[in-house]
Symmetry: C2
Subunit: 378 residues, 2 copies
Amino acid sequence: MARVALMRVADAGDAVMGRLVAGFGAEGALDQVRRGKLDADFVAELAAMRGKPVDPGRRLTAWRGRLPFTDPVADLARGRKLGARLIVPGDVEWPTQLDDLGYERPLGLWLHGSADLRFACLRSVAIVGSRAATPYGMHVAAELAAALSEAGWTIVSGGAHGIDAAAHRGALAGVAETVGVLACGTDVAYPAGNHGLFEAMRARGLIVSECPPGVRPTRLRFLVRNRLIAALTRGTVVVEAAIRSGALNTACHAITLRRHLAAVPGPITSGNSIGCHRLIRRAEAVCVTTAREVIELMAAIGDDLSPEPRAPVLPRDRLDAESRSVLEAVPARSGAGPATIAVSAGVDLMTALSHLGALSAAGYVERTDLGWRLRRST
Amino acid sequence: MARVALMRVADAGDAVMGRLVAGFGAEGALDQVRRGKLDADFVAELAAMRGKPVDPGRRLTAWRGRLPFTDPVADLARGRKLGARLIVPGDVEWPTQLDDLGYERPLGLWLHGSADLRFACLRSVAIVGSRAATPYGMHVAAELAAALSEAGWTIVSGGAHGIDAAAHRGALAGVAETVGVLACGTDVAYPAGNHGLFEAMRARGLIVSECPPGVRPTRLRFLVRNRLIAALTRGTVVVEAAIRSGALNTACHAITLRRHLAAVPGPITSGNSIGCHRLIRRAEAVCVTTAREVIELMAAIGDDLSPEPRAPVLPRDRLDAESRSVLEAVPARSGAGPATIAVSAGVDLMTALSHLGALSAAGYVERTDLGWRLRRST
């Protein structure tokens, strides 16, 4: 109950609150907020921290200001009525990989859907990218997601139009779960245009959020949400990202969290691939072009090695070097005598004749009144 | 004169002939071929070589077989009549970077055109790719070549349809020279469809070949020719390459010769980009997307650094974190009172009011009868 209250009191991803809860438990933290007085050692600890200084007094004021609007009993009742459930660290369904977020670990998660979050995310990949995606990006996201889902990998993404929606749609065409992590309450279902998609995801996967029911999305909540997408999964694939794209923020989280990071190349003439190419150029992301390459990267080492693309073997490749030079010396039209061919190929006459016989038997060359020439079909 | 003769006697890139010439000079080598007897120490040296064994007797037979068809005086006369000139190692115009080819260095080069080969190739880039290129590949090759040429870089490529032709056409739109290295005599101008292009290249650059006049192209000659494209330049850019493409052979030569290697990404749905993506994935090639990135790679270290693509700075970015949270808390429609906004933003009322005032002055928010709301235009 204290955690549910704190999910209203503190912003999502508030590391100061995370630190307070880690030190005093959720009830202890809530108690300090209610009393309007933070533990002195805790304040000293904050002051000793490197980096951007935190003003504990202002933070406390902000938290206290929200207390009057905090009603955990009502939140739980509202969530349940909507069909959602709340999980907190320690629950069986809690994905322990979120512990990598340290003090930014969410206080709790609202889940709405049929899948088990912890189980679904054991083998999961994030597919992220631009909202204003190109048809190429949408196609690639859907194809990758479908192939990964077919191979048993859960897809995790946001709930936006563009790459997010294409990835979920692709995943639904496969067999695995698909998980949408929203920057608003699970009941808000933003954007409204994806309402039907969210319905399908609840039936075959999950809608996840650290925001209490009814909370609207904001720019900051989107950025904070991205850390969850990166943390839940073994790695993130950026399908399309303009130079200013939230997907690159998720990519940053993946790097910080030491998750795998992959990017899909695209036409260099497309602004929506600039972010992907930059990640590849900086060697921050691995260049991936197929679902198998994604799996090879994300899977445990040696588990799933992707087959290298191979050139087809042509019949011509099976010829030895000498036969090949004789074949090269045979003209396509008119015809040439064996002596001319031998000189051109750099072999003696008997060698040329023996190779010509073999090449003729194999259908490469033919003898005409004018001499040897290539057979049309070769 | 002896070199001109040997260019008929031996195949292009014949390392055994290269070794013989290195040991005995061109005249000494030609003399041994004429006498039909190779130096005993030389034969012993060949026998002691690691790798694929060479049969000196057979090689000698092949060379001798071509002696009757060898007429250096006629070759020189024919070349001159066509307007071409011959250069050999030691000439002022000889590009000494070809020495990196070791015994596979060409015996001589036929040049046809107005440019100086050595000077043109001081700052040069090879642009190579598929003959059966896509419109995307042709566009990229032409744009890259034009921008590189505009920046004073000579373009080197083959003479094929597709990427080669697009690169030369792009280069002709710039200001620098363009050099076509052919796998046939400079007068053969294969393929015939590029005849007009070759004319333009002779006027603004060079047609280059190690084949004597009149020699027709063969598959082997194309592969051998590729080493010249790689060796002449500071590096090679692969624009499009299917999994089985001659461009990948040039890329191999670039790696072996420790030249730079770059590849242009493309749609993963295009078979013509598979070779490029494989080079990038294996970290054999650097992923490049602009001419500046190519120049950064190929130029002397620190000479030309490419600007990183940067996101545009939006006015919103200039706001401090506190202003931003207040702005985020202002609703887009209806309106909210300053107290509500303060709670949502996590600041006290006075702070909220002061930021709202500043945001209003900057045109982000406006005050209505219903409270504060975002201004439409933001």
